[in-house]
């Protein structure tokens, strides 16, 4: 008989989300819903009427983890709307900033997922905070990779957390030859560490993939080989940076995107009738509690070609590098494989960077209200910002962030997993829930917006 169990809130990810799961007698998920319960904040509404310089600053405050991805996507959406091409050296600095951000983000995610994994050859789960080896040297390497990523980001982007250097039309400043050299030295050191860390993580993940069982709260839970498999497609715009509507051949298609409402996708009201007080961090939701994912979900459901899609490292690697593995472990493997690419990208950009080149466009138009979009391949996946700018003011703004794309896809990927390891499936997406939580477009409004956009 189907029972309903709920894990709320989920842990070791960014933001507040929960899992409402219908499970069979063996505890295998028949139908799962993963949804954001972070309060809706309405950044898109706040942006209307602000200047095109202000909005990227506002967008960068949506979340504490992703300021760099949002600053870049938002700035470039404005540039796409006003039709402003930026100088090559400005673009190179942005790519360096972007790659450095991804480098430290992968390392951060390593800390979040390692407690799910075993130290290869042992029955001991990895505790990043343990005083013994291998934890100490792995953590020291992770911290150094993050330091390197943040320092390169601070040099190219002006600041380590909220980048101050990007602006509409390019960048405020180029870097000095000495700063360029420092970034190159750090990227070379980072490359060695990134390779080591990738090799380590791949061993840990492959070891886990070969296991039959994992321990959760003292119980042995079977580990399916198809953990996290789903039949939704993948979406990626570039292996590293992204695309925009200014590109000669854009790799994202506005016409294929449609936002639908959560009640088309999530389950209706259910009553919790399965409970496990021993589940880590305070047990699952109490029996008798009502849950209503349709009404509680705080995100819209974006679709591409009429279906939710997966975005992120696995989507990038399967779109551009013939990576053909599926499921949760494939997502982890793909993410580690992006480690060295970040450093190679930084080094390649530095090779081409002219420190005396100009970094600001000669002419920055004020915009005529045309729709422009920019897609940025953030650590967690495709981050699309769309804007209409007229006379320097933002008329319309929309953010389609990676985790919003992944919410409905991941919900489908939960089917077939024992409920006790459902959170492992969620963590495979490296979710950032706060970013994903926006205004829900109501039907009437949506129609009007869609019709108007068709004419532009």
């Amino acid at each position: 008989m189907t029972k309903v169990v709920e894990i709320s809130p989920t842990t070791r990810l960014e933001g507040h989300s929960k899992l409402t799961l219908k499970v069979d007698d063996q505890g295998i998920v028949e139908r799962g819903d993963w949804l954001s319960i972070t309060p809706v904040r309405g950044i898109e509404k706040l942006a209307i009427g602000k200047t095109m310089e202000q909005v990227p600053k506002i967008a960068s405050r949506v979340c504490g983890i992703c300021p760099i991805a949002h600053t870049l996507a938002s700035t470039e959406a404005m540039e796409a709307s006003i039709g402003c091409e930026i100088p090559t050296d400005a673009k190179l600095l942005r790519v360096i900033l972007h790659a450095a951000n991804r480098l430290h983000s992968i390392a951060l995610h390593n800390i979040l997922i390692l407690p799910d994994f075993y130290i290869p050859g042992t029955e001991t789960k990895f505790n990043p905070f343990a005083n013994e080896q291998p934890a100490r040297s792995v953590m020291a390497r992770i911290v150094r990779i993050r330091e390197i990523g943040q320092t390169i980001g601070a040099i190219a982007g002006g600041e380590a957390i909220h980048p101050s250097n990007p602006r509409i039309g390019g960048m405020y400043h180029n870097v000095s030859p000495r700063a360029k050299q420092k970034m190159a030295d750090l990227a070379k050191e980072g490359l060695v560490l990134a390779h080591e860390q990738m090799e380590f993580m791949l061993e840990v993940i492959r070891n886990m993939q070969n296991r039959e069982f994992v321990e959760v709260a003292g119980k042995q839970i079977p580990l399916p080989k198809t953990l996290g498999y789903h039949n939704q497609g993948v979406m990626a715009t570039s292996p590293m940076y992204g695309s925009s509507s200014l590109d000669e051949k854009p790799t994202w298609d506005f016409a294929r995107w449609k936002e639908t409402r959560p009640w088309d996708w999530y389950m209706g009201e259910v009553t919790i009738d399965l409970e496990d007080p021993s589940y880590p961090l305070g047990g699952t939701t109490k029996i008798g509690t009502k849950a209503n994912p349709q009404m509680e979900a705080c995100t819209g459901v974006p679709t591409y070609d009429g279906q939710p899609v997966e975005v992120g490292p696995r989507a990038r690697l399967s779109s551009f590098k013939n990576f053909d593995e599926k499921g949760t472990f494939a997502q982890h493997i793909a993410r580690q494989m992006e480690y060295p690419d970040c450093c190679y990208t930084i080094l390649k950009c530095l090779d081409n960077l002219n420190t005396s080149g100009k970094v600001l466009a000669d002419h920055i138009p004020l915009g005529d209200g045309s729709m422009g979009w920019a897609a940025n391949e953030a650590p967690r996946g495709t981050n699309v910002h769309l804007a209409r700018v007229k006379d320097g003011k933002v008329l319309w703004y929309e953010m389609l962030v990676p985790t919003t794309w992944n919410f409905p896809t991941c919900s489908r990927a939960l089917t077939g997993a024992p409920w006790q390891i459902a959170e492992m499936v969620v963590r495979g997406y490296d979710p950032c829930v706060s970013c994903a939580t926006h205004m829900i477009v109501v039907n009437e409004e949506e129609k009007i917006v869609a019709q108007k956009l068709m004419q532009w």
Binding site: R41, R61, V62, G64, E147, A160, H162, S434
Partner: protein, 159 residues
Amino acid sequence: METLYSEIVVAGCGNPLYADDGLGPAVVERLKDLELPENVTVVDAGLGGPHFIFTLLNPKSTKTLIIVDIADFGGEPGELRWLTVDELPVGSYRDAHSWDLTEPLQYIKDDIRIRVLACQKKYVSAPDMVIGITDEVQKAIPGAVSEILKEIGMKYETA
């Protein structure tokens, strides 16, 4: 290993989209307009403090961490007060994404001197987004700047 970080790190925490919560970044903005000694790094930590600040510190090179943020210590709106880590109640100093900042601060307080400059809030709009710091808290900004300058050992006359 080459150390990347300076002796004194000043971190302005908070989110300008939540009204008075924007104080930290606003103080940082003022500090950046000033010429500061080379051993000082001023960083707009935004709401990413717990995730990002700790990789900006290195016990080998960092001696002092100064945090600027709003707080609710029952004072008059705009009142400034220096707090120690032990005065921060555990769990009350959470960022929007539930990564506790107090616990990691407790871990490092023996290696790095931590000073917290708290300003009594008047209005924090979270979860709604409101841009703009209230007048009372706005008026505290010059005071906060000079407090920090004193703390880092600079005599800087503010008008």
